[in-house]
């Protein structure tokens, strides 16, 4: 076991660094720049039952120390992901991958997870419950403990692979959602998804993003993410993947000291395609500086 080795829901990873879904595609753009097999794993582009184009453009805005996106889950749909993306992914990445799944009904989630469960390279299923529930008045599954539990149970029924529920921070009490997922059988949790935000263009006096609002990510949200990871780690027993604005090896250590078993890195990949490679390379020296022998001792 190396100094950086961690275990996530029973699967060992060489290090805790996981590029977050939506910032890493299916890996091959990054494989042009570095050998992505240095990663712990990565969470691939959020996949839905049907193909989705997503929202109109502009989908991106900048903010101090971060960005806002309203991409709207653009993806080719689970059938094409399995037929076209995963074979390409397999050529450049040789470890277990994290499959990120979104849906707009409980049945959607179960269907997509069942299809991806059959893929050998999929090690974990990460279930994004920040999407609106079209049969439940459009409220996000992740804002209501009962709805979050319902998705968790439906997904657990169709797979034996570890199920990680990805939580939205846009709630009053994230620990209530976390406990509901744990009670419904979730193997792990990941948080936080993006925080809702917006920008207005002073010249046009209109929102910069066509969808008006979007999700804020980047270092701007790191303290909020850290606080929520801390709270959730004290509310549940299952492992937590911490994310939200991580951009350095020090951020990884801080997130793991809050209780995270592993971390995801999102927006940093977009501004520096080598961000994760650098963070992994920097970890041993940062650990030396703070007297940390192995990452697993931080648990």
């Amino acid at each position: 076991m190396g100094r950086l080795t961690v275990s996530l829901c029973g699967l060992e990873m060489d290090n805790p660094v996981i590029p977050a879904s939506g910032t890493f595609g299916f890996g091959y753009e990054f494989a042009e720049i570095y050998d992505i097999n240095c990663l712990g794993t990565f969470s691939f582009k959020g996949t839905t039952r049907e193909p989705r184009f997503g929202n109109p453009t502009p989908r991106i805005a900048e903010c101090p120390a971060g960005m806002i996106n309203a991409v709207g889950l653009q993806n080719p749909g689970v059938e094409k992901v399995i037929a076209e993306e995963l074979p390409k992914l397999k050529k450049v990445f040789h470890k277990k991958v994290m499959a990120n799944v979104s849906g707009f009904s409980v049945e959607d989630y179960a269907y997509t997870c069942e299809r991806l469960d059959a893929e050998e390279q999929v090690g974990w299923l990460e279930v994004n419950i920040s999407c609106p529930n079209v049969h439940g008045g459009g409220m996000s599954f992740g804002t209501e403990p009962k709805a979050a539990a319902e998705v968790t149970r439906a997904v657990k029924k169709v797979t034996d692979k570890p199920v990680i529920m990805k939580l939205s921070p846009n709630v009053t009490d994230i620990t209530a959602i976390a406990r509901a997922c744990e009670d419904a059988g979730a193997d792990g949790l990941s948080l936080i998804n993006t925080l809702q935000g917006m920008r207005i263009d002073l010249r046009t006096r209109r929102p910069v993003i066509a969808n008006t609002m979007g999700g804020v990510s980047g270092p701007a949200i790191f303290p909020v993410a850290l606080r929520m990871v801390w709270q959730v780690c004290r509310a549940v027993k299952i492992p937590v993947v911490g994310m939200g604005g991580i951009a350095s090896a020090e951020d990884v250590l801080e997130m793991m000291m809050a209780g995270a078993a592993a971390v995801e890195v999102g927006a940093a990949n977009l501004t520096d395609p080598r961000a994760c490679e650098k963070i992994i390379a920097d970890l041993p020296e940062a650990m030396d500086r703070y007297g940390i022998r192995t990452l697993s001792e931080l648990k």
Binding site: T23, E29, F30, E32, F53, G54, R59, Q74, N269, L270
Partner: protein, 244 residues
């Protein structure tokens, strides 16, 4: 795509708001006119995508307009400043489509990417007509440079203060073999309606990453979804779907 450090060689104002920056570094990933680079500026989270105006071995020329705080900061970078740069982004124009008498139509800061294209087409012995459109005389740049390449160069201004009064579509030659264009959206739409041959359009879009990871710049086309940063910024005339 390549990520390397470029060093600013020169940075000079061409008009009140348009600047010409030359950069020295590894240009090996820059393969076609119409591609862009993505620059990391201190203090800004997202990179700034800028089209390549010219490229020689080891030297890039960028011409950019100051439209916000990021490009304003870029305009103040002194010689010697280092910039973390992603190069070789986007597909670029296809020179093999040009025919004998290609037409280039540029509007404002849509003119720069056509310069390297013109240079390459002239080197192949093509008879190039370049129509450069601006709002008014004091915003004009590049006229001399296109003339020096031996292009039939026509300048239009919306207010008639220099050259032909009107828009680039008011100065089209009688015949041409193919066209290449880059400029503001209303101009691109007019070019689409008024041109009679096939052509290639270069589009602009707000980008997250600039290399295909975030899906921030996707557009619908007749050939499916395309990322402006990856399968674009250059699209074929026949595949464009205008969304009003």
């Amino acid at each position: 795509m390549k990520q390397t450090i470029f060093r600013v060689e020169s940075n000079t104002a061409l008009t009140d708001s348009v600047f010409r920056m030359t950069l020295l570094g590894d240009t090996s990933a820059v393969t076609a006119p119409g591609q862009f680079v993505n620059l990391k500026l201190d203090g800004f989270f997202l990179r700034r995508p800028i089209s390549v105006c010219d490229c020689e071995d080891g030297r890039l020329t960028l011409i950019f307009k100051t439209v916000g705080k990021g490009t304003a900061q870029m305009s103040r970078l002194p010689a010697g400043a280092e910039i973390d740069t992603l190069t070789g982004l986007g597909n670029g124009y296809d020179l093999t489509r040009a025919g004998d008498r290609p037409l280039l139509l540029g509007g404002g800061v849509g003119v720069p990417p056509l310069y390297w294209l013109a240079k390459k087409l002239r080197a192949e012995g093509k008879e190039v007509t370049a129509v450069l459109g601006f709002n008014t005389e004091k915003e004009i740049f590049g006229e001399k440079e296109f003339r020096a390449l031996g292009c039939d160069t026509r300048v239009t201004t919306a207010d008639g203060s220099h050259g032909i009064r009107g828009f680039v579509t008011d100065a089209l030659p009688e015949s041409y073999s193919f066209f290449y264009t880059c400029g503001p959206m209303p101009m691109l739409k007019a070019v689409y309606r008024r041109t009679v041959t096939d052509g290639q359009f270069s589009f602009e879009e707000r980008m997250g990453c600039g290399f295909g990871a975030c899906m921030g710049c996707s557009q619908k086309t007749k050939n499916g979804y395309k990322r402006i940063c990856r399968e674009g910024p250059v699209l074929e005339k026949e595949e464009i779907l205008w969304e009003d």
